[in-house]
């Protein structure tokens, strides 16, 4: 009998957030729960977009705030989807924000998003929600982030 087994290489976490204090909290939280993770931080979606186009590695996840200077997170999501190269990369796109408004959430779900997660008010809440988010996506099988090896069962 032949089975597929796989190993997952975790690429960088791409964070888009323009609040310096938030960034530090998130960086610190990720350092706490996933010290080996690489974090790429962008204050604007344009900078993040350029990174996504140029990088050779497959990012693990995009954590994007909703309210941002210039292009919003929702516009950024649509921009990624409209680019065939980025679309086929299929990087999980998760809104990671404090914005709760129902209208914003409805609008977000008109795009193809893989989650809309609140950051929480305390550092502990942040730790917990990041852990849950990362655990989920770590356990997902993804086409661009795997090394396959075929092995035989006795």
């Amino acid at each position: 009998m032949t089975h597929l087994s796989y190993m997952t290489r975790i690429g960088p976490v791409v964070l888009i957030n323009d609040d310096k204090e938030d960034i530090e909290f998130i960086r610190s939280a990720i350092q706490t729960i996933r010290p080996d993770y690489q974090l790429e931080i962008f204050l604007t979606t344009d900078e993040a977009y350029n990174f996504l186009l140029e990088t050779e590695v497959q990012p693990f996840i995009i954590l994007c705030d909703v309210m941002l200077p210039a292009k919003s997170g929702i516009e950024f999501r649509d921009q990624i989807d409209a680019n065939p190269f980025l679309k086929q990369k299929a990087i999980p796109f998760v809104f990671f924000t404090s914005v709760i408004g129902k209208d914003k959430i409805k609008k977000a779900y008109r795009s193809t998003i893989q989650g809309y997660v609140l950051k929480g008010h305390t550092f502990d809440q942040l730790l917990k929600v990041l852990d849950i988010t990362f655990t989920y996506w770590e356990n997902n099988v993804h086409p661009n982030n795997m090394e396959y090896s075929l092995w035989q069962l006795g």
Binding site: H3, L4, Q88, A90, I100, K102, I105, K106, Y109, T112, Q114, G115, Y116, V117, L118, V129, I132, T133, T135, Y136, N139, N140, V141, H142, P143, M146, Y148
Partner: protein
């Protein structure tokens, strides 16, 4: 309080029983509805008011396969409007299946766990995440 249900699209009765046992084991209080065919899922989505938490869908199904089922859900305005995360659930698979799942903008792709313990953990992982994710139907 009405908890939004989990929808499982699966054909194998043994597997359905395992999922049920795992759900009980980890203390899931939500209703779980099982559908053995994509059309039954579509009917549920279009004729009930509920906004389910997730759809967990086998790829290999009699009749429409998982991909076809997701496409039918996406093509139906009523079903699509519910924005239910669509998660694939499969035995050891090949790369082209995974690529297809992501082309369809699914919300996850999990390999079926080999042990009951792993099944419990995987179910918990899935529920923990989607319970944390805000949804337009479940926000005031």
């Amino acid at each position: 309080m009405n908890l939004s249900p989990i929808l499982v699209v699966a054909d194998d009765p043994d597997e359905i029983e395992l999922i049920n046992d795992a759900a009980y084991d980890i203390g899931i209080k939500r209703p779980i509805h099982y559908f053995r065919h994509g059309d039954a899922l579509l009917e549920f989505l279009t004729t009930t008011d509920t906004a389910p938490l997730v759809i967990l869908c086998e790829i290999n199904m009699p009749g429409d396969n998982g991909f076809e089922i997701q496409q039918k859900v996406a093509a139906n305005p009523v079903a699509r409007h519910k924005c239910v995360p669509f998660i694939y659930w499969s035995t050891a698979t090949n790369e082209s299946e995974i690529i297809r799942a992501y082309d369809l903008a699914s919300h996850g792709f999990f390999l079926k766990p080999n042990t009951f313990q792993d099944l419990c953990e995987t179910l918990k992982t899935i529920l923990d995440y989607w319970q944390k994710s805000l949804h337009p139907k479940r926000v005031e």
